[in-house]
């Protein structure tokens, strides 16, 4: 015991002597460790700095060789001489070529040792010191990440290699640690999930993801690798907030390269009636909510009547009015009376009693759905569609609209344009606030068949439970999100963080020597800890996100995209119908030809003010 203490004392004395003997190196190392601690750096940063200071060493050696015709420099001796004479500045300059690289290297090693010992809970006065050290380092890392994204041009949307940069790295586990959170562009074309509560910066992240998808899609299209990109956003929350985000999304997408961004149903409309007849029948039947048990009979009758109306000899209906006209037993009997349709005619006559009820239900449904699905527009008319569904005010209507829009999109993706030999369009379906329509939109089915259609699906929800009604469906969604999961501040992140898995970490116990005193004696063991710390996710601030992918996590300070001036569009008044829908503009139309909505309300210039002066305090990001 005494021998061990003596050995330890000798080691301390030896280290102290070396530190004093190499005082300039010690000073540089101390400053380097201090800066690394203050900025939350990893030791690799100090090693890189040491490598970058090698040119000064090379210049010093080269200049010495030229002037003294010898590789033995005189600076160290001169430095000690200058120090003894009180010429401290001269001494510092003379020793700097050696002290700076060596000090940075020594600082990196010391900082690495300090981090490793704190991670193993083997350093610090108490076992809890590791926790407070980690919290302090987290704050320092957040501060450094915020400083990085504050620098203009520091976080481009796409890197020079065409990869997507989301923001500045705060901390990583299982992912490479760089300064920026960079994802391969292919990750954007895979399914992704975004989970975050209100005010956590979800919209900011989504806007950046959409802009990056468009930018990479345009690059691939220019390189003739794929068709032009198309983004379809279903904002299932609705209301004024959705319209404000829609305006911001439009400005950002225009500046990213979109030629035409349509906002549905306020400014543009789509046509449900362009669906192939079989698909149209299925969609129309699904739009009506059915019960179970005895209601199955009624569902079968409804499907038969809808099929008769859609497949009538004059061809499929071209509008809502035409479809509703056909939901009449007299019209159906007359349409199939021409001969050769005996079976259909018999069906129409047997269902004659139910037809008025079915017509009433569809009349009510289409009145509630509004004219947004009855217009002449086509998804191919724009580079991006921002569809606002009033999921907060009218859940049933939003569910039906979402179902119809997804069917229109699936039909468009698998349509004749794709089959004609042209490169298929790169399509992203982003469903924001998915929980509002999750009950009747089985998105995981779309997930599973989307890859064959060339469709990427991005689902965002307020919480893990908002992803789907059943736990199985939630895990199915999460398991197929090959593009990764973005987790923002949420109170229940455990199911998602568990998907990142666990890693082995060293844990050290310390012997209690008295009241709040611990000795250095104890034992260490390996134990599994979560790769993504759920407590860290719970405490994420607005604008911070944890990106989980392939058993690793990257905590990111997301960079906000700044859009151009607001489009000065007005939201429809509460209780009044929206402006009549217009068809989307053709591809050739320039953005500045988009119609400006008129009205006697003052325009919403919040986006412009945000862009000019930053977000207002307390406002959602």
């Amino acid at each position: 015991m005494t021998a061990r203490l003596a050995l330890r004392g000798l080691a301390i004395v030896a280290v102290a002597l070396v530190a004093i003997g190499l005082l300039p190196v010690t000073l540089v190392a101390a400053v380097a460790v201090g800066v690394a601690w203050h900025s939350g750096w990893q030791p690799a940063r100090l090693y890189r700095a040491a490598a970058w200071s090698l040119p000064m060493l090379a210049v010093w050696l080269a200049a010495t060789a030229i002037t003294r015709h010898s590789l033995a420099p005189a600076s160290p001796q001169q430095a000690w001489l200058a120090l003894s004479r009180g010429r401290y500045l001269a001494a510092a300059v003379l020793i700097a070529p050696i002290a700076v690289p060596a000090g940075l290297l020594a600082g990196g090693l010391a900082w690495s040792f300090r981090l490793a010992s704190m991670t193993a809970q083997a350093a610090g006065r108490s076992p809890a010191a590791a926790v407070s050290f980690d919290d302090r380092q987290w704050r320092h890392q957040v501060r450094a990440a915020k400083a990085l994204i504050a620098a203009p041009g520091a976080v481009p949307l796409l890197t020079a290699r065409g990869d997507f940069a989301a923001g500045a790295v705060i901390r990583t586990a299982g992912h490479p640690a760089g300064r920026l959170t960079v994802l391969p562009a292919s990750r954007l074309r895979s399914h992704q999930i975004v989970i975050g509560g209100t005010g956590t910066g979800k919209s900011t992240l989504l806007l950046r993801l959409w802009a990056a998808y468009l930018a990479t899609g345009l690059q691939r299209h220019a390189a003739r690798l794929a068709g032009p990109p198309l983004i379809v956003v279903l904002d299932c929350k609705g209301g004024g907030d959705a319209r404000r985000i829609a305006d911001r999304a439009r400005r950002i997408l225009y500046e990213t390269g979109a030629r035409n961004v349509a906002i549905w149903p306020d400014e543009a409309s789509l046509s449900l009636w362009t669906l192939p007849p079989r698909q149209l029948i299925s969609t129309l039947v699904d739009l009506i909510e059915h019960g179970t048990g005895g209601a199955a009979y009624y569902t079968d009758v409804m499907e038969a009547v809808v099929m008769l109306a859609v497949e009538a000899p004059p061809g499929p209906p071209a509008s809502t009015a035409e479809f509703l006209t056909r939901l009449d037993s007299g019209w159906l009997s007359l349409a199939y009376a021409a001969g050769g349709y005996d079976e259909q005619l018999a069906l129409a006559r047997s269902a004659a009693r139910q037809v008025p009820d079915i017509a009433l239900r569809f009349r009510t449904l289409f009145r509630r759905l509004g004219p947004g699905l009855d217009g002449p527009g086509n998804l191919g008319d724009a580079d991006a569609w921002y569809c606002i569904l009033e999921g907060t005010a009218e859940v049933a209507v939003a569910e039906a609209q979402a179902r119809a829009l997804v069917d229109v999109l699936a039909s468009f993706v698998a349509g004749p344009a794709s089959a004609a030999g042209q490169p298929p369009r790169q399509v992203l379906l982003a469903v924001d606030e998915f929980s509002a329509v999750a009950r009747r939109l089985p998105i995981w089915q779309l997930y599973e068949r989307a890859r064959s259609l060339g469709l990427s699906v991005q689902v965002s929800a307020q919480s893990w439970h908002g992803l789907a009604a059943r736990q199985d469906d939630r895990y199915r969604l999460a398991a197929t999100a090959e593009g990764g999961i973005w987790l923002l501040g949420t109170p229940h992140p455990d199911p998602v963080t568990a998907l990142a898995g666990q890693r082995a970490a060293l844990s050290t116990s310390r012997q209690l020597a008295g009241r709040l005193r611990w000795t250095r004696h104890g034992s260490s063991q390996l134990r599994d800890v979560p790769v993504a710390d759920p407590n860290r996710v719970r405490a994420l601030e607005p604008g911070q996100a944890a990106y989980i992918h392939h058993g690793g996590v990257t905590f990111t300070q997301v960079k906000r995209l700044v859009a151009g001036p607001a489009a000065l569009a007005t939201a429809p008044r509460d209780g009044q119908p929206a402006a009549p829908p217009e068809p989307a503009l053709p591809d050739s139309a320039a953005p500045d030809t988009m119609r400006l909505a008129t009205g006697d309300r003052l325009p919403d210039v919040a986006g412009l003010l945000d862009a000019a002066f930053g977000p207002a305090p307390g406002s959602p990001p």
């Binding site: 210049v59 070529p97 203009p152 041009g153």
Partner: protein
């Protein structure tokens, strides 16, 4: 005045852009500075100049002072990029 701007021709004639060809490279160089953080970049430049001047002042033109100047310039090259920006929005 209009006549002078139009190179001696009357108003309504297009002005030759040749004279602006010289300004374009200058603009390309200055744009990242203007879109970035010019004040911080200026401070970095001043720091480099000050370090070099102090080194020469302290020891004269010696290998060590040249080395310090090299180190300061390397630091400027490594860190000055964060004060430049091609696009103000990002």
């Amino acid at each position: 005045m209009t006549r002078a701007l139009a190179g001696g021709r009357g108003a309504g004639y297009p002005v030759s852009g040749r004279k602006y060809l010289l300004a374009r490279p200058l603009l390309a160089v200055t744009r990242p500075i203007r879109h970035g953080r010019p004040a911080r970049l200026a401070v970095r430049l001043l720091a480099v100049v000050a370090a070099g001047a102090l080194a020469v002042f302290a020891t004269g033109w010696q290998p060590a002072s040249l080395s310090v100047m090299t180190g300061a310039l390397t630091w400027l090259l490594c860190t000055g990029g964060s004060d430049l920006a091609r696009d103000r929005r990002n």
